[in-house]
């Protein structure tokens, strides 16, 4: 659980898989185009990002106070609030509620926080079957996989792969590539489970402190079913998801859906404010809210890194990342893939555990440009690389210094001396250019495997300028 897979090896394997590369390229292209179509006016886009970023910043500025308010407002509404410092605690809380209601199986809406907890495995160990009801989540679940994207869990699969999977895994299903038929098959399986599930478990997109309202954004109606049909609803989310007031929701929702799937609005938007009240004809008898920390308060305490928590999990950063587009989500081997994963996972689990992926970024800035709440992702990656290689123990992130390699430290140590010592720098330039034919390709390491060795000039610019002056 949460141990580092070898990121670099997984990435190399992914690069060699043409189907996967094709699936991701196509999917990311379409998501990017759809997002772009939602923001035809650059100025409007920047204003929307300013506003959304400011709301998230304000939410974080008053985080402790807003969480307390959220708790009391939820309780007033009849929602039971639980605090979990670790995924293990969250799992125990959820198990206890399930067991109290004698649940044999539960139905789940999409929740990345439940992925952090590996909740399905945990419940299975206690003889409770958890079935994913989001179509993408359902697909990865029956294939024994994890989501490869935070919004589109099965985006790595094409139609044909899904058709094969359904024919193989669902009894009585014949092979078909017809999307409507495939959807209808999943729907049929899930419908029967909704009716008998004792508990529905969902995530939360925004938790409103002022009113104690849990907002859930979705497209399939499975979120609404999960939170209304079973007698008990458990919502699980990270402590950073709180926003001060209801008026904060609309601007965030607007950038979320447009950035995520390029939709002006989703098919469903649920606002859950209490269990079923007297006289109401549907809704659960009990509603629980589990607020998970799992490293978030540590990130919060670090001013440099706090922006990480502004995230509204839209997935735009991965959609725009040229690395994610090529290797896909599974190569990261972590709950959160792509740029948000690169800044979040190492902070949650330690650079020593999940820091390797920090090197998989060219700092091209596409993620930061796409992020609807203006998280400076490239700067945070750069900051984490510093944490990863520092040796003064003065850092703040778990596993600081874990990626410092002696040979690299020696290289940068000599680099420093040469580049601040003008005569040494010039001597190096002279030697390199004079001996340019002797520099072996191998000196460039892996660079020359796929590139011709760059040609050193006959004379450096320093020399040319010196000659010119005299």
């Amino acid at each position: 659980m949460n141990t580092a897979v070898n990121f670099t090896d997984a990435a190399k394997t992914a690069l060699k898989n043409p189907t996967l590369r094709f699936n991701f390229r196509q999917a990311m292209d379409s998501l990017r185009e759809r997002r772009a179509a939602q923001f035809p006016d650059q100025d409007e886009l920047e204003r929307a990002r300013d506003l959304a970023g400011a709301i998230r910043r304000r939410s974080l500025n008053h985080l402790a106070e807003k969480l307390v308010q959220l708790e009391s407002q939820c309780q007033k509404n009849g929602i039971q609030v639980h605090w979990a410092e670790t995924p293990a605690q969250a799992n125990e809380i959820i198990l206890e509620v399930c067991q109290r209601h004698d649940a044999k199986h539960v139905i789940k809406g999409k929740s990345m926080v439940s992925e952090e907890c590996h909740l399905n495995d945990y419940l299975a160990k206690h003889d409770i079957e958890a079935l994913e009801s989001d179509l993408g989540e359902y697909i990865v679940q029956i294939d024994g996989e994890t989501p490869s994207h935070i919004i589109m869990p099965a985006i790595h699969k094409n139609k044909k792969e899904i058709a094969e999977l359904f024919a193989e895994k669902i009894p009585g299903v014949e092979y078909t590539e017809d999307v409507d038929t495939l959807t209808a098959i999943a729907r049929k399986v899930l419908r029967s489970k909704f009716e008998t599930a004792a508990v529905g478990i969902s995530g939360v997109n925004f938790a409103v402190a002022e009113t104690g309202t849990l907002c859930l954004v979705e497209n399939e109606g499975n979120g609404r079913m999960t939170t209304t049909v079973p007698p008990v609803h458990i919502a699980i989310t990270g402590i950073e998801k709180v926003v001060p007031s209801l008026s904060d929701v609309a601007p965030l929702y607007s950038v979320l859906t447009r950035s995520a799937t390029g939709q002006h609005a989703t098919t469903y938007f649920n606002m859950i404010s209490s269990p079923r009240r007297e006289g109401e004809r549907d809704g659960p008898q009990e509603v629980h809210l589990v607020l998970l920390d799992n490293g978030r308060s540590k990130i919060y305490q670090d001013e440099r890194m706090q922006d990480t928590l502004k995230c509204i999990r839209c997935g735009a950063c991965m959609n725009h990342c040229p690395v994610y587009t090529r290797i896909g989500g599974h190569a990261y081997g972590t709950v959160y893939p792509g740029p948000i994963g690169q800044i979040l996972n190492p902070q949650q689990y330690g650079i020593d555990q999940q820091g390797e992926m920090l090197s998989a970024c060219s700092l091209n800035g596409a993620c930061g440009e796409a992020c609807p709440v203006r998280i400076p992702i490239p700067s945070l990656i750069s900051e984490l690389r510093h944490e990863a290689t520092r040796n003064d123990q003065a850092g703040t992130v778990y596993g600081q210094g874990a990626l410092r390699k002696l040979h690299e430290a020696v290289v940068w140590g000599s680099w420093k001396w040469i580049h601040r010592t003008p005569w040494a720098y010039k001597a190096m330039g002279l030697a390199a250019t004079r001996l340019r034919r002797l520099v072996p390709s191998a000196a460039m390491g892996p660079w020359t495997k796929t590139r011709v060795k760059p040609a050193l000039a006959e004379k450096t610019l320093h020399e040319l300028m010196k000659e010119r002056e005299s």
Binding site: T8, A11, K12, L15, P322, V323, R326, I327, S359, A360, C361, S362, L363, N364, G365, A366, E369, S379, S382, R385, H386, A388, T389, R390, L403, E408, A409, W412, G413, W415, K416, I418, H419, R420, P422, Y425, K426, G429, A432, T433, G445, P446, W447, T448, K449, T450, R451, V452, K453, P454, A455, L456, A457, K459, T460, L461, H462, E463, L464, M465
Partner: protein, 241 residues
Amino acid sequence: MRDIYYFGTCLVDLFYPQAGMAGIQLLERFGARVHYPQEQSCCGQPPFNSGFRDEAQNVAIQQLALFDQPFDLVVPSGSCAGMIKHHWPELLKGTDHEARATELAARTYELGEYLIDHLNVTLEDQGEPTTVVVHTSCSARREMGVAEQGKTLLGMLKNVTVEVPKYETECCGFGGTFSVKQPEISAAMAEDKTTHLAAAGADRFVCGDSGCLMNLSGTLEKRGIQLDSSHLYDFIWERVQ
């Protein structure tokens, strides 16, 4: 006559000095007196991007002192200009050098940006008709916000048709030490970019950032794709002779 500082960058110094010289000559032609401190070396981006901030800081402090007159600093590279403009102040925050770094940042420009926005150049094309395909570095595009300037300069050359590749805004896979630390991912990105450059059907590929140029010309050659490459400023200087 306006005095300006020129920061040649270490890659231009060793691999593309002619392009560095072309930049200087362009600046001079359009009315600048160029100062080139001989003690200059590198902006410190390679160790900075690798996490080795102390080393980068040490060199930045020494380099900062070379540009103490109130002249504008012009850099023939979006990524090195971005380092000086955006990362030196951050790197030197809380040190005695912070104020100077911030002051220098305010007068630091990428060369194409400077030629257009400050020297208001117009270019007289002397060359034969040709088509070029351009790649703009991500630092020029996103960090410096000067994505269009290189193309604007080329657009002034009346016999040059300017093309851009499919996925124009996507990274070429260079990323400095990224290309060494994740060579396979970097190579996959460079492969895609060179495929799109070739598909543009141009006579020549031009790029205003040495790192991307080196990455892409090296990949084109290794793949046996017949497409000559030039540094943007080298190309422009030759056209106006």
